[in-house]
Amino acid sequence: MVIRRAGQWSGIWRHFGADIARRSLCAFAAVIALLSCLPPEIHAQGSGSASAADGYPAVVPGRPLIFPDDFGAHPDYRTEWWYITGWLRDDAGAERGFQLTFFRVRTLIGEDNPSRFAPRQLILAHAAVADPANGRLLHAERSARAWPGLAGAATGRTDVEIDGWSLSMETGEGGETDGSSGDRYHSRIETEEFGFELRFDARRPPLPNGRQGFSQKAPDPLNASHYYSRPQLGVSGRLRLGSEILDVDGHAWLDHEWSSEILPQGARGWDWIGINLHDGGSLMLFQMRDGEGGAMWAAGTLADALGRARTFAPDEVRFEPVRHWTSARTGTRYPVEWRLHLADGRTLGLRPLMDDQELDSSASTGAVYWEGAVRLSEQAEDGSEREIGQGYLEMTGYAERLDM
C-alpha cells in the first residue's frame, strides 16, 4: 500500500520544521505527500514523468519482481518501506496486534557532499502494539539519516536497521534467499514502554500485487508502486510490555513497496486491509478516497492457500462503513466496522480487536490516523457470522484538516 504511514511521518518531520506541513495538503500527512510537500496548486499540474525529472526513477509497468534482489532496498527510488502487521497470542491465550514499519527515503539532498552526514538516505521506523487490556495503542518511532552500522537499508536482501531496531532476512539453508518458502525474518524493537523480538517464517513465495508487482494507486497510472506481500508468516518470539516478558506466537503479514511518486491529486485518505485467512489464503484490499469521501480508486489481491492469486479491479471492490467510533482524544470519527463487497459476490465483515487503535500525534503535528488489528468474518447463509481471518486495517484522512 503506497500511501500509508500517515502520522508517524509528521511526528518525525516536526523536528525540522514540519509546522509548514499543516499548511498544505499534508493535513492527513501521507508519507509521500510529506516528502514532496509541494503546495497543492503546483502539485495539481500532475505533469508527465515528474519523478524522473526530479531525479528519481519512475515506476513503470512490465518490470517483473526479481528475488532475492527485490527483497533488498532500492535506494534510487524516492521511498520504500517494509511493513509487518500481525496477531500475537501468548501462553495464556491473550490476543494482541502488533505493527512495525521501516522506511527508507531518498532526499536528493547532498548527493555531491563528501560528508558522511550528508542526508542522502533517511531511515525511519515505527512500531506499535495493540493490547485490549491496555485499551489503546503503545507506539514508538525512530528516525535517522543513514550511517553504516547505525541506520540503513541494505540492497540484495532485507536488512534494515535504525538505532538498534532491525528487520533482517535470514539467508535460508544453502545460502539462497530466492523467494522460496523457507525464508525467515528476524525483527527486534526496543522502546521504554514495550519491545519485541520476533521470528517470521515464510510459508510460501512472495505474492506480487497488481500487475506483476506494479500496483496502481489512482486513475493516472503514474501513481503507482512496486509492491509485493508476504502473507501467512508464522510468528514466534517474545513480547515485552513494560517489565513483563511474554512468549508469543501468531501470524503476520509483510508488505514491501517502493515508489517515486507522491500522493495522488485530489486524494483525501485511504483505507487498507491485509488479512491472513484461516483457510491459508490472504486478502489485501485498499481504496483511495477523494475529498468527498468517495472512492476514487480501489484494488485488491486475493490468494488461496497455494498462493494462487486473483486481483481486483477498481470496480470489483466496495468498502461500506457499518459502525463509527469517535475518539475522545481528537474528536475524529472513524468507521471501525466495515462491510466489504467483492466482485465474486461475497460480502465480508470487518471488526476491530478494540475500537481505540488511533495513533494520535496531535501533540506534535496533529497527524492522526487509525491503524489496528481487525477480524474478518463472513456471513453464512443461515445468518450466523463466522470469523474467516485476522489482520490489520489502516484508515487515514478522517481527522480534521489542521490548517494554520
Partner: protein, 859 residues
C-alpha cells in the same frame, strides 16, 4: 536602658558626625573594599551561572559529553559510541565560530543532526519559517545551505557593526542571505527559520552541510550522550573512557563551566586581593581616626568612668562607633558593588574583559547571603580598626586621665620597640615566598605581601628614630622645632605616617610590577613580531584559515620576499589541562622565539628527520603546569594518537597562561596531514611599502576576507589592552594614595586642635602665623617623608614578591624587573609636598584664634 542608649548615641556615635571628613574617608575606604570584592564575586558568579546554564540547556537531556580539542576530532568515534550498550542516544555536534567577512564579530554555528537533536536537545530544535523556505519545509533542516538563527543572533546580524577602527561594517544577514567565511572564501547561507527555544546567540544548520561548507569533512567538535536508563555518568565514563582515543574526554555538561571557572581563577583571585587591600586600608583608616578621636576624648571618658560608666560599656560604645562606620561603609559598598557589576556587564561583559566566557550574557542577580556577607565584612573591618584604640581607652585609670596637665595625646599608642617583631615578620615574609601555590593560587605570595606591609609599618618608629638625628643639625628654626616635636612624640608620627607607609608601599609595589610587566611585554612583542606584515583569515578559533592555495596567492604579491606560517591549535591534554595551545611553525634561526632556556637546535644535535623524537619548545606556563624541563619528553594528543616530543627549549609567552608548545611545522604536517595555516608572517623586499602590499592583498582576496596587521599596530593594540587591564590597578593606586594623604590630614587636624596652646606660645615668642603654618607643613612633610621612605622600601620588596612569586605562580610567566625610578621619585616628591600642604590646611584652624586667647585657654 533608653537613657543609656540615648547617652551612648550622644557620646559615641555623635562623635563620628563631628569628624565628618575623617568619617567620610573611612566610609569611602571600607565601601570601596566591599564594593570591589562583591563586584568581582557577583560578576564572576553571574558569568559562571549563565555559562553553566547555557551549557546545561544546550546540552538538553545529555548526561555526558564527549569533548576534545577545539579544532575537533575524527568522527569515527561517533558510530562506535552510538552502538555501545551504555549509550541510549548520541548526538554529534560540529561547532563553527563563523567569521563574518568584513566584521569583527563572529557567529556560533552548530552543525547538528536534526534527528538526534530532536530527541535530546530541545533548544537546538529549529523551526522552518514558511515565508523563507517556499515549499520544502520538511526537508528545510537538511538542506546544506539552510541555517536557522536564534532571535537574538538574528537581531545582531541584521545590524551593521562598528569596527575597532571606528568604521562601520554592513549587516551580515541581508535579504535572507547570511554571508559567512570559510578559509578565505565567502559562503552564502540561506536563512530558513529560527530557534524558537534558544535564548542564546547562535545558529544551527545540518551537520553534513556544515562539514561541507566549512571544509570540516569527517570532523566533530562534540558528541552529546544520553545514557541507558539507570546508568550513572560516572559508571558510563569508567566503562567508555578506555575506548577513547587520546585527547578526548567524557564529562558532564556542567564540567566545562568548572573548567572555565578554574581558568579564570587566578585573574579573579588577584582582583579579590585588591579588594582585600582596599578593605584593610579602610580598617586602618578607621584605626587612625579612632586613635585620635579617642585621644581627644580622653578626659571625657575619664569623667564618664568616674560617674559610673562601666569599663565594658565604654569599650562597647567605642567598638559600636567602629561597627557603625564599617556597616554604613558596607551598605554603601554593597550598593556600589552591584552598580559596578551592572556597569561591568554592560561595558566589558561577564568575564571582566579577560575573555573567559565569551558570548555569555549574564544577568545581575541579587544574592542576599552574599550581600550580607560583604556587609558583615565591612562591619568587621570597622570593629577591627577601632579595637586597639577602644581597648586602650577603656583601660586608662580615670583618676590619671582627669589629672590636669595630662597631655591629651598621651592616649596615642606607643609604637617604639617593635623592631624585633618587624624583623620577625620580614623573615616570615621571606619564608612565605618559598611556599608552593595552593590550588593555583599563590597564597604564600599574598601572605608575604601582607607580612612585608606589617613589618614596614612596625619598623617605621625605628626608621624615624634613626633618621631624625640627621635633621637636628639644620640651621632653620622651623625645621629644628619640627624635628624636636617629632623626636618628642614619635607615636604621633607613626600614626600619621603608617597610612602613608601602607599606601606608598602598595602603590609603589604595583607601579614597579606593572612597569616591569609592561616593559617585558613590550620587549616580548618586539621579539615575537619580527616580520613586516601579518596576515590571517580570522582568529584561530574562527572559521577563516589559509591553505596552500591562499599562501601561494600571498607569495605572488609583488614586494613579498618570504612567507612564514603558523598553525595554532588548542589541545586537550587531560581533565586537569583542558586547554593547551600548540603552535606549529618553522623554528629555524630562532625567528621570533623568545627563549629563556634551551636552544632552537635539537637537544641531541641531530638534524630534522634523524632524531627519534621531534623537538618541541614549551612556554613557561607549560613548564610549571606539566612539570617539564629541557630534555624531558612531552606527549601531545595529535590526530587521535599520543605523539612524543623532546623539550628543546623554554620560551616566554604572555598570551597563553594555560601553557603552549611550539613544534616544527614540517613535523606537525608529517604527523597530522593537516596543511591549514592560521597566520602568515610576511617579510617584504627591501624598500617595499607595507601599506601597498596590504592593499594588493586586499584587492587579490576581496575586501574584508583577510585581517592584515603591521607589527606596530599589533604592538599598539596589545599594549592598549594591557593598559586597560591594569586600569583597575591604577585606580586602586590612586585610591590608596588618597587614603594615605587623608590619614595625614586627619591626624594633623586632630593634633592641631590639641596644640592651640603651643601655637599661642610661639606667637608670643614672635612667630608669625605664616611661620607657624610653615612649621606645621614641615612637620607634615617630615612625617610623610618617613612614611614615603619606609613605604618605598617595603614597596620594592613587595614588587619583587609580586613579580617572582605571585605572577609566576598564578600566571606562570616571568618578567624582567624594570623600576620606574623617575616616576617613583616624582611620586615621592609630590606626596611629601601634598602632605605638607594637607597638614598646613588641616592646622589652619588652630591658628585662627588670637595668641592671647590661645595661651589663656591652656591655664
Amino acid at each position: 536602658m533608653s537613657l543609656v542608649g540615648a547617652t551612648s548615641r550622644r557620646l559615641f556615635l555623635a562623635s563620628l558626625l563631628r569628624h565628618r571628613l575623617a568619617t567620610a574617608l573611612s566610609l569611602l575606604a571600607i565601601a570601596l573594599g566591599v564594593a570591589l570584592g562583591l563586584a568581582v564575586q557577583l560578576i564572576h558568579g553571574a558569568a559562571i551561572d549563565e555559562f553553566g546554564r547555557g551549557l546545561r540547556t544546550l546540552a538538553g537531556e545529555a548526561d555526558l559529553q564527549l569533548v576534545g580539542p577545539r579544532e575537533g576530532f575524527d568522527e569515527a568515534i561517533y558510530p562506535m559510541l552510538a552502538k555501545r550498550p551504555e549509550i541510549a542516544e548520541a548526538s554529534p555536534v560540529l561547532r563553527i565560530e563563523a567569521r563574518l567577512p568584513g566584521r569583527e564579530d563572529t557567529l556560533e554555528i552548530l552543525g547538528v543532526d536534526m534527528f538526534r537533536v530532536a530527541r535530546m536537545q530541545a533548544l537546538l530544535r529549529p523551526r522552518a519559517d514558511p515565508a523563507l523556505v517556499d515549499g520544502d519545509g520538511r526537508l528545510a533542516g537538511l538542506q546544506p545551505r539552510n541555517i536557522f538563527v536564534s532571535v537574538d543572533a538574528r537581531a545582531r546580524l541584521e545590524l551593521p557593526s562598528r569596527l575597532g577602527n571606528g568604521e562601520m561594517a554592513g549587516p551580515a544577514l541581508r535579504d535572507g542571505v547570511l554571508t559567512v567565511q570559510s578559509g578565505v572564501s565567502g559562503i552564502e547561507l540561506r536563512l530558513a527559520g529560527e530557534l524558537p527555544l534558544s535564548g542564546a546567540e547562535l545558529a544551527v544548520m545540518d551537520i553534513g552541510g556544515a562539514q561541507q561548507m566549512f571544509g570540516r569533512i569527517g570532523v566533530l567538535s562534540r558528541i552529546d550522550l544520553k545514557l541507558a536508563p539507570g546508568l550513572s555518568p560516572e559508571a558510563a565514563g569508567l566503562a567508555l573512557s578506555p575506548l577513547l582515543p587520546p585527547g578526548l574526554a567524557l564529562q558532564v555538561p556542567e564540567a566545562a563551566a568548572g573548567e572555565a571557572s578554574a581558568l579564570s581563577r587566578a585573574y579573579r583571585v588577584n582582583l579579590t586581593m585588591l579588594a582585600a587591600i582596599a578593605l584593610l586600608t579602610g580598617a586602618f583608616l578607621v584605626f587612625s581616626t579612632q586613635v585620635l578621636s579617642v585621644a581627644r576624648r580622653r578626659r571625657e571618658f575619664a569623667l564618664l568612668r568616674a560617674l559610673g560608666m562601666e569599663r565594658r560599656q565604654l569599650l562597647r560604645g567605642l567598638l559600636a562607633e567602629g561597627a557603625v562606620l564599617g556597616l554604613v561603609g558596607g551598605v554603601i559598598g554593597v550598593a556600589l558593588g552591584h552598580a559596578l557589576a551592572a556597569l561591568a556587564f554592560r561595558l566589558v561583559g561577564g568575564d571582566l574583559g579577560a575573555g573567559f566566557f565569551r558570548g555569555s550574557r549574564p544577568e545581575l542577580q541579587f544574592d542576599a547571603m552574599l550581600a550580607a556577607g560583604y556587609l558583615l565584612l565591612g562591619g568587621v573591618a570597622g570593629v577591627l580598626g577601632s579595637w586597639l584604640p577602644a581597648r586602650a581607652a577603656s583601660q586608662v585609670a580615670p583618676a590619671r586621665a582627669l589629672r590636669a596637665g595630662e597631655a591629651q595625646y598621651a592616649g596615642l599608642p606607643h609604637m617604639q620597640g617593635r623592631l624585633p617583631l618587624a624583623l620577625l615578620l620580614a623573615a616570615g615574609a621571606g619564608l612565605a615566598c618559598m611556599l608552593p601555590p595552593a590550588g593555583g593560587i599563590p597564597l604564600g605570595g599574598y601572605a608575604a605581601v601582607a607580612l612585608s606591609l606589617m613589618a614596614a609599618v612596625l619598623s617605621l618608629p625605628a626608621l624615624a628614630q634613626s633618621l631624625l638625628p640627621l635633621l637636628g643639625r639644620t640651621r632653620s628654626v622651623i625645621w629644628r622645632l619640627a624635628h624636636a616635636r617629632l623626636s618628642a612624640t614619635p607615636g604621633q608620627a607613626v600614626v600619621a605616617a603608617a597610612g602613608v607607609v601602607a599606601s606608598v608601599a602598595l602603590a609603589s609595589a604595583m607601579a614597579i610590577m606593572v612597569s616591569s610587566f609592561r616593559v617585558s611585554v613590550d620587549d616580548w612583542l618586539a621579539q615575537v613580531l619580527p616580520a613586516d606584515l601579518y596576515v590571517r583569515a580570522s582568529s584561530s578559533a574562527a572559521s577563516g584559515y589559509l591553505d596552500d592555495d591562499a599562501l601561494a596567492r600571498i607569495a605572488a604579491v609583488p614586494g613579498v620576499a618570504s612567507v612564514d606560517t603558523t598553525r595554532l591549535l588548542n589541545l586537550r591534554l587531560s581533565d586537569e589541562e583542558p586547554v593547551f595551545s600548540l603552535l606549529a611553525r618553522p623554528v629555524d634561526g630562532n625567528w621570533g622565539l623568545p627563549l629563556v632556556a634551551g636552544s632552537t637546535g635539537r637537544p641531541d644535535g641531530s638534524k630534522p628527520g634523524q632524531s627519534s623524537l621531534p623537538p618541541a619548545w614549551i612556554s613557561e606556563a607549560a613548564v610549571d603546569r606539566l612539570g617539564l624541563g629541557v630534555g624531558d619528553r612531552l606527549t601531545l594528543p595529535l590526530a587521535g594518537r599520543q605523539q612524543s616530543f623532546v623539550v628543546a627549549g623554554v620560551w616566554r609567552d604572555y598570551s597563553r597562561q594555560y601553557g603552549a608548545a611550539l613544534i616544527e611545522l614540517a613535523d606537525y604536517r608529517a604527523l597530522t596531514g593537516d596543511d591549514r595555516v592560521n597566520d602568515a608572517a610576511i617579510r617584504l623586499e627591501e624598500g617595499t611599502d607595507a601599506g601597498a602590499v596590504a592593499d594588493a592583498l586586499n584587492a587579490r582576496f576581496g575586501p574584508g576576507r583577510l585581517i592584515i596587521a603591521l607589527p606596530g599596530e599589533i604592538r599598539a593594540t596589545t599594549l592598549q589592552i594591557f593598559d586597560r587591564t591594569f586600569l583597575i590597578t591604577y585606580l586602586m593606586e590612586a585610591v590608596t594614595v588618597m587614603i594615605g594623604l587623608f590619614g595625614i590630614a586627619t591626624t594633623f587636624a586632630a593634633l592641631a586642635g590639641t596644640r592651640e596652646g603651643e601655637f599661642g606660645m610661639l606667637r608670643h615668642l614672635g612667630f608669625t602665623r605664616g611661620e607657624i603654618g610653615r612649621l606645621i607643613a614641615a612637620e607634615g612633610a617630615l612625617t610623610a617623608g618617613f612614611g614615603v621612605a619606609c613605604g618605598l622600601l617595603a614597596g620594592g620588596a613587595m614588587a619583587w614578591i609580586l613579580i617572582e612569586v605571585v605572577n609566576r605562580q598564578s600566571f606562570h610567566w616571568s618578567m624582567d624587573l624594570a623600576v620606574p625610578w623617575a616616576a617613583l621619585v616624582l611620586f615621592a616628591a609630590v606626596l611629601v609636598s601634598l602632605a605638607a600642604l594637607v597638614a598646613r590646611l588641616a592646622g589652619a584652624r588652630a591658628m585662627r584664634g588670637s595668641a592671647v586667647q590661645a595661651v589663656k585657654a591652656d591655664w
